[in-house]
């Protein structure tokens, strides 16, 4: 692995994984069997021609490799870093059956980083069509759709409510996993292709829904940013955070540099992070970097954690203590948090999703001595804008209902990413955005 040692990296926010060198990339690429029916491609939601780009890497033709990747994916430096490859492309690579799969994500990242450092070339953009398309949200779904729509020659305006573009890539995923200059550079390419990004626009408020609907087509990509709380006692005590708040204070507002930056964040000695996904790992590792002893509380077993394997591994290396089969039942404190009451869980019969369902063990209650609690138990689709658009059909979980093409119940309004699927992954958000962009292109061509 090309990771910086845990002992040094817990003191800074610089990237953990250093990526491949050119020699390593060429050697790794040479292992690829160049399958005639490549399984890997089917594992990639945006269908990158994986064997083709890997063949170019093996030959040292990095520029051509980058061009091939960007045919399907305008955010390769991002996906190469954060895709859960073990369940996507690498999970189905034929080599994985006997030995280790090709490190497709690492190669993709290598190619993208190489291109960024040596000057990126842009895909060709079609002649202007005179059609106006509004994209709401500048996360991976919004940016991906904007790229495909700009490439087709439409006038694209992306609206973003925050003061920075990138969605979760900017406010959620910490810089030691997703350096912010990488996010900026990949978004900048889409701007150079002609898409305009208007920041500080909360659509529904800064731009009324009627004005949004006046565009020739609309793509909703507002994400699943609404944080859930467990609903246990003590939740509103000072020192209890949602992962979104904690991560936003640090990633977007740079609270780790307070007072050089104005936004504060609490520094605690002992922190409990509740959850077992990527968000929980990120919150735990940020709290560790702010100097705390960190406990990760998860109600199922470690093998049930939805986080990327690499992040579980990194978190452990960094000294995060895992308390699995443990469920929080209350937060204690007065003016500040002083402890987290927990109960041990035993794994019983399988639930509907095939996972064992955790049940509390009687008499196993205990109190963990902590002075901060971060809840990373999930988020749901952002209700604000979608509730202001009359006639927009929504599912039971608040998600926008779309068809195969990403079309909503309003004919010229499409949606994709977490707002349509509920909280998922970067690459799934991009996959659904590409489908919707194709649907919009078809609609605008036919109209």
């Amino acid at each position: 692995m090309s990771d910086r040692p845990a002992a040094t990296r817990v003191h800074d926010f610089a990237e953990v994984d250093q990526g491949l060198t050119a020699e390593e990339a060429i050697a790794e690429a040479a292992r690829c069997l160049q399958c005639k029916k490549p399984l890997c491609v089917g594992g990639c939601p945006v269908c990158i021609d994986i064997p083709a780009f890997i063949a170019e890497v093996a030959e040292g033709n990095f520029a051509e490799a980058a061009r091939l990747v960007k045919e399907q994916n305008m955010l390769p430096a991002i996906c190469g870093r954060v895709c859960p490859q073990e369940t996507q492309c690498e999970g189905v690579c034929i080599l994985g059956k006997k030995e280790t799969p090709i490190r497709i994500g690492a190669l993709e990242r290598f190619v993208a980083d190489w291109e960024r450092e040596s000057g990126a070339t842009l895909p060709e953009v079609a002649a202007p069509t005179g059609r106006r398309v509004a994209v709401v949200g500048s996360g991976p779904a919004g940016i991906t759709a904007a790229a495909d729509l700009a490439r087709a020659g439409h006038a694209v305006t992306v609206y973003e409510s925050l003061h920075e573009a990138g969605g979760v890539l900017t406010y959620g995923i910490p810089s030691f996993r997703m350096p912010k200059d990488v996010v900026k550079a990949e978004i900048e390419q889409v701007v150079r292709m002609g898409a305009e990004i208007k920041k500080n626009y909360l659509v529904g408020r800064s731009l009324p829904a009627e004005e949004l609907l006046a565009y020739d087509a609309v793509f909703l990509a507002t994400g699943a940013g609404l944080p859930s709380f467990m609903g246990i006692p003590g939740e509103n005590l000072p020192g209890v955070y949602s992962a979104n708040e904690f991560l936003t204070r640090v990633n977007l507002m740079h609270a780790e540099k307070f007072p050089a930056f104005d936004t504060p964040v609490k520094h605690a000695a002992r922190v409990a992070v509740i959850g077992g996904g990527n968000v929980a790992m990120d919150a735990a590792r940020v709290a560790r970097r702010l100097g705390a002893k960190v406990f990760l509380i998860y109600r199922r077993r470690e093998e049930d954690m939805p986080a990327r394997l690499a992040e579980v591994h990194h978190a452990k290396e960094e000294g995060i203590e895992f308390l699995t089969c443990t469920n929080p039942v209350g937060i204690i404190g007065d003016a500040a948090v002083t402890g987290l009451e927990c109960v041990k869980m035993s794994m019983c019969s399988l639930d509907a999703s095939g996972r064992p369902s955790p049940e509390p063990e009687t008499g196993s209650e205990f109190t963990l001595d902590v002075d901060m609690v971060i809840q990373a138990i999930g988020t749901s689709p952002n209700p604000l804008l979608v509730s202001l658009i009359p006639g927009l059909e929504r599912g039971r979980k608040g998600n926008v209902v779309v068809d195969e093409d990403g079309r909503t119940s309003i004919p010229h309004v499409f949606a994709g990413g977490d707002i349509a699927t509920g909280a998922a992954t970067v690459i799934e958000a991009m996959g659904s955005a590409k489908k919707a962009a194709a649907g919009i292109n078809r609609m605008l061509r036919e109209a």
Binding site: H163, Y201, L202, R205, S206, G225
Partner: protein
Amino acid sequence: MYTINTATEIADKIFEFWIDAPQVARNARAGQFLILRIDEKGERVPLTISAVDGDAVRVVFMAVGKTTEHLATLQAGDTLADVVGPLGKPSEIREYGTCCLVGGGAGIACTPIIARELKAAGNHVIGIIGSRNADLLILEDEMREVCDELFITTDDGSKGFHGYAADVLKRELDHRTIDAVWIIGPAIMMKVTSAATLPYGVKTFVSLNPIMVDGTGMCGSCRVTVGGETKFACVDGPEFDAHQVDFAELMQRQRIYTDQEKLAAEKFAEHVCRCGEGGHCHE
């Protein structure tokens, strides 16, 4: 970049800014707020939209800590890195009959815009504005112009009624029917004043000011307990039914960063003296 059109100190430590922010101004309604960020290192600070004129919005703020002190050093022609809004739900404006708007301290700034909309909806509008002393009283002329009746209170008796806005509110409630009340000011003032309307069963709104980050419902920093339920003030409010609000929790959560805020303010004060640039040199 958002240009500050005018910057005026209207009372000791209270400032009135008109800021050019078309997407906010064109869509703002009474009761909504904006969030601004001074520069790349700045915090996102919520301020109520106090008036609108063309493409500009007015905010009135009190210099109480690092960011508002820094803001106070800015002048007409200076720019802000970010302004987003309007945020939050607009006030529930309808024809109630007789309405009373109670403003305390810098909170008075939020009252004229609501008074105007209530008036336009056909209400009889009473204003009660109070401050510690006569010098700190703001927007008196504007409130006199927009309200049907205006009462003034000062804690020290230097102008108007000697006492609190709550006293005048109680007196009015005792001898006439008031159908809806808005109370806007520091949390403690809203708590005490809304207790006064409780026995009369009058619909009472308060505008809550918990600590916010994004202001779009994404972080939960602004959560408040209203009627036993957790609400996000930035999207579910900021105005809520006063009699349902857990004020003790609100005030506790407002103090989360007291130590850090003190540090930031001290550092800023030191910096201002050293460079002599009144906060204009940003390093």
